[in-house]
Amino acid sequence: MVSYIFRRLLGIIPLLLGITIISFAIIHLAPGKPTAVEQTMNPRVSPEVRLRLEKLYGLDKPLPAQYMNWLARLVKFDFGRSFTDDRLVLQKISERIPLTLTINILSLIFIFLIGIPLGVKSAIKQGSLFDNITTVFVFLLFAAPTFWLALLFMQLFCIRLGWLPISGITSLDYEYFSWWQKIPDLARHLFLPVLVSSIGGLAGISRYMRSSMLEALHQPYIYTARAKGLPEASVIYKHGLRNAILPIVTIVGLSIPGLLGGSVIFESIFALPGIGRLFFEAVMSRDYPLIMAEIVLGGVLTMIGNLVADIAYAYVDPRIKYKSS
């Protein structure tokens, strides 16, 4: 097992190299320039100045040379400095991580806590009124655009009822609060974002769970279990659920890169300084070092996520063994 993991980790390196070469080429060949964004339409900024800025950013060198420079620094874990404000890229990313991670973990927990029982219950009572209502309901939520739901919730909870703040993660005077004021303040600010970001995922997980449970319930071993007179609860939860949960484990693994992902729309609406907006703004302003760092981050996390899913699979399903041949 250990050598299997080791081989998989080694395999990440060429894969990552490929990802970076392709994405480096694409983002640099895409039309638009970092110096073209804020400054070009300002007559006070002369074209000579723009050329000079490009030189200072190192954009006048040939593309392969730029890539090799970037790679040489990457090996030393130096992602460079952002073009937009000259801060370290790593610092810019890491200051966004706590919030993004908090919201994503909270909503993931929320999704699984609600989605799994919902799916199981629907499967057991397949075709019942409960099943039909949940089906319609989760699909409605799934289909509703996040930004629209967010605005509706804001209208209701923040303006009509006045219970929650609209945007931001803390109140204005947060720094002067004592810790027992800080926690409820954070909770009040995070409630709507977590709720809204869970809603889309809820449909997915409960549907996966439902179909996977249905499949398990139609397996011969379930008939066997019933035939030998096991109590229904034991049939469903011990024999059915345990087998049905396997695909969900894969989903958990695949959610890992998503933990550090974010949605621009949703972060913008709630004015949250998350990763999604950072990436979006980096792309819009052609902030190459930042885009590349985020791609590397996403790539590494996706591959680790896959690996974790595979390992977890082997752990929960004794039939699966990875041989190190």
């Binding site: 039309p31 638009g32 320039k33 073209a36 964004v37 804020e38 400054q39 070009t40 339409m41 300002n42 007559p43 006070r44 900024v45 002369s46 074209p47 000579e48 100045v49 723009r50 000079r52 800025l53 200072l56 400095r81 937009t84 404000d85 000259d86 801060r87 810019k92 200051e95 966004r96 930004f147 605005l151 804001m154 209208q155 923040c158 303006i159 006045g162 703040p165 609209i166 945007s167 931001g168 993660i169 803390t170 204005l172 005077d173 720094e175 002067y176 972060e267 913008s268 609406i269 709630f270 004015a271 300084p273 907006r277 950072l278 703004e281 819009m284 302003s285 052609r286």
Partner: protein, 521 residues
């Protein structure tokens, strides 16, 4: 009775305290003012720093860090007399050294400043004494005076710093009315009043810029009084804020804008080379309709490159009336008639059609282009609309002259010199006369005006340019939109003027009993 006795005190004394919370669509990038080119950074540094000169409420240049100045040697030399009572926010005395240092950094090729252009015209800058600076230009350059509105940065802070990477980009020290307190990236920037500010202590104790990237959210925040001020769209201004709530808590402002929107023609394109064609198009598009439909009436027809509140604006130039027949006859004169009766004009077998290009993310421009499309269809011209992402729009289409017509806007600086936009030498890739306009009289006037410090003379030059441009129609000047905003009504001391409302921010105050944010330690 008691209340009555106290009342005059409330009315006539101005209280200190409270905070002003403003929403900003984007976070600032850097608080080193000579590097900042985005509007979020500039509005924050505007409160922290001062230039040598500034514009007063009537858009005249007045002294800021400079008490006065003299123009000598027929405009070649400007001598600035600096204020002697100015302290940097860390207690250091402000002096001529700081001005010289700022200038050196502006022309240093290793500093990533976009503003070096105006300062490269300076031949030398000498310190005559601690509070007198002599600037000598290579040739007389009157717009140079307003370029000294560039914020002055402290030498004692930056002298051993690489300006591009300095830590002070995130904790600036200036001379201005507010000093930096906190910056939480993508959340907020907080400033507090600088009690020793050389003009006076500002009444409002705190200023907070909250980053809220979504316009719908900003509007919802207004509805919970989470922010004190915000710009409004025409729809929000005319309908959505006409509620009892808004009337109770907010004041709304309609102020003349410093901008204009235009349709620019690629004058290298044979279709647009004939002045009569461009004049015809101007007759065919109803600007009042655009202003009514797109701006809901909050704007006025533009007639040139200057805004009506500017001294360079020519009142004699009147917009032409919408007249389809006149348009058709001008086009016929130029040879464009519908010979094959297919509904579209043609000339020498060529159909009159063109692509109107504009940038993505601007709803207003998308609507305007549709109205133009329909109006031109009525006189037999086929317009295709193409909307492109901003950075691509600039690098692939504008810089490379790869367009037929574009719909864009300029924001109009307080200094009317627009040499870079209209002079025929400014047509190289990346320069701003991208439509390829060339008129010898305009070229000459632009140069004469920027070589003179005599405002009356400059005025005649710019007003003549205004007239020529409207006659020649290199752009179809569409409209100047008003700037619409809401401001919480607990703030007092606001005096709207030609330049806007923010110019006297340090005079704004909130009566003690209405103050909302009290803790500021």
């Amino acid at each position: 009775m008691v209340a009555f006795l106290f009342l005059p005190a409330f009315v006539f004394s101005q209280d200190y305290g409270d905070a002003f919370i403003e929403a900003s669509i984007a976070d600032a990038r850097t608080l080193v003012p000579i590097l900042a080119s985005d509007s979020a950074s500039s509005s924050v540094t505007g409160l922290i720093f001062n230039g040598l000169v500034k514009y007063d409420k009537d858009i005249n240049l007045v002294g800021d860090l400079a008490e006065s100045w003299e123009i000598e040697e027929e405009g070649l030399v400007i001598v600035f007399h600096l204020r002697k009572n100015v302290l940097w926010q860390d207690g250091h005395r402000f002096s001529a050294e700081d001005v010289e240092f700022t200038y050196r950094k502006l022309i240093d090729p290793n500093v990533r400043t976009p503003y070096s252009g105006d300062f490269e015209r300076v031949k030398s800058l000498e310190i005559l004494d601690d509070f007198t600076v002599k600037v000598t230009y290579k040739e007389p350059f009157s717009p140079g005076l307003s370029s000294w509105g560039m914020p002055i940065i402290p030498k004692h802070i930056f002298k051993n710093e690489d300006l591009n990477k300095t830590q002070y980009a995130r904790k600036p020290v200036g001379t201005g009315p507010y000093k930096f307190k906190v910056w939480k990236t993508q959340e907020k920037i907080e400033l507090e009043s600088y009690r020793d500010y050389f003009e006076k202590r500002p009444y409002i104790d705190r200023v907070v810029y909250r980053v809220i990237p979504d316009e719908a959210t900003i509007f919802l925040e207004l509805q919970t009084q989470g922010i004190d001020s915000s710009g409004l769209s025409p729809l929000q201004f005319s309908r959505q804020t006409e509620t009892p709530f808004f009337k109770q808590y907010y004041r709304k402002f309609r102020l003349p804008g410093f901008n204009y929107t235009y349709m620019g023609y690629n004058l290298g394109n044979p279709k647009f080379r004939d002045k009569r064609v461009r004049q015809a198009l101007n007759y065919a598009v109803d600007k009042d309709e655009i202003i009514k439909m797109v701006l809901l009436g909050y704007g006025q027809t533009a007639t040139g490159s200057y805004v009506p509140q500017s001294w360079a604006f020519n009142q004699q130039v009147k917009p032409v009336a919408f007249d389809k027949e006149k348009a058709k006859s001008l086009l016929a004169e130029a040879g464009w008639v519908d010979t094959d009766n297919d509904g579209w004009l043609d000339k020498d077998g060529m159909l009159f059609e063109f692509t109107l290009l504009t940038n993505q993310g601007n709803e207003e421009r998308a609507k305007v282009s549709q109205i133009i499309q329909r109006r031109l269809k009525e006189i037999g011209i086929r317009v295709k609309i193409k909307i492109v992402e901003w950075s691509v729009f600039l690098t692939e289409f504008i810089d490379k002259r790869n367009f037929e017509a574009i719909l864009l806007g300029w924001s109009v600086p307080r200094e009317p010199d627009n040499f870079d936009i209209w002079h025929s030498s400014k047509t190289k890739e990346g320069e701003f006369n991208f439509i390829g306009y060339k008129n010898e009289e305009v070229d000459r006037l632009l140069i004469e005006a920027r070589r003179s410090f005599d405002q009356d003379f400059r005025k005649t030059c710019y007003q003549r340019i205004h007239q020529i441009l409207y006659d020649e129609q290199p752009y179809m000047f569409l409209f100047v939109s008003e700037s619409l905003s809401a401001l919480h009504n607990r703030f007092r001391g606001i005096k709207p003027a030609a330049i806007g409302i923010g110019y006297n921010f340090i005079e704004w105050w909130v009566p003690k009993q209405e103050q909302k944010y009290r803790i500021a330690k």
